[in-house]
């Protein structure tokens, strides 16, 4: 079946360091991917997206990399700040955006 896997890591980084959060997806037909940030008691907040015709996309302090050969997605956060502490989800679009399939999430903890 469809699945997007985050292996439930908890990533602890020092403030100012770069963070890399990884994600494996299983549906080779997926053509759109999104990263979300979720803080406690809040809904997921859109961070960045990427389409399958790209392998890299940059935003403000964030970069998403897509490797379709091995079905792998990563989110890089530069100069990680305490406000970046949250759960991060990757999601893949199936059925042309009619639904997103989410992984279980990765906890990012930023140490000051």
């Amino acid at each position: 079946g469809e699945s997007v896997g985050l292996h439930l890591p908890t990533l602890s980084v020092q403030e100012g360091d770069n963070s890399i959060i990884n994600c494996a997806y299983s549906n080779s037909a997926s053509d759109y991917f999104i990263w979300y940030k979720q803080e406690s008691g809040k809904g997921p907040q859109f961070i960045i997206d990427i389409r399958s015709n790209m392998d890299k996309r940059q935003g403000q302090r964030v970069t998403v990399l897509l490797n379709k050969t091995v079905k792998h997605l990563s989110l890089q956060i530069a100069a990680t700040q305490p406000g970046d502490s949250a759960v991060y989800f990757c999601a893949e679009s199936v059925e042309y955006g009619n639904k997103l399939v989410f992984g279980a999430g990765t906890i990012l903890r930023v140490k000051s």
Partner: protein, 114 residues
């Protein structure tokens, strides 16, 4: 409004009661989605609306769950005869046109079934 608005933010009810959850999408967004997030879990798709039609209801867990959307705007998710396993956060999202566009989420309704 500026973002997706959901109400109530919290709902506690007894097993067997019916509940209605409301979602106000971002103004002008034609696509609306409902997801469910159980404790410590990822998000599970429930249903997708394009305008007032629901082309994909495949995620609704049982016939106790239903949803409607009126005027291409507000949507309600109804759970009849609630069970304890229905306890979760119910999240609504909208996107401008559907398809491969970012989905923007509200803060959800936390539903607790006693």
């Amino acid at each position: 409004g500026a973002g997706v608005s959901q109400s109530p933010s919290n709902k506690v009810t007894e097993k067997g009661k019916d509940v209605e959850l409301r979602c106000d999408p971002i103004s002008g967004h034609t696509a609306l989605y409902w997801y469910r997030q159980s404790l410590g879990q990822g998000l599970e798709f429930l249903i997708y609306f394009q305008g007032n039609s629901a082309p994909d209801k495949s995620g609704l867990p049982s016939d106790r769950f239903s949803a409607e959307r009126t005027g291409g705007s507000v949507s309600t998710l109804t759970i009849q005869r609630t069970q304890q396993e229905d306890s979760a956060v119910y999240l609504c999202a909208s996107s401008r046109t559907g398809g491969n566009q970012p989905q923007h989420f509200g803060d959800g309704t936390r539903l607790s079934i006693l």
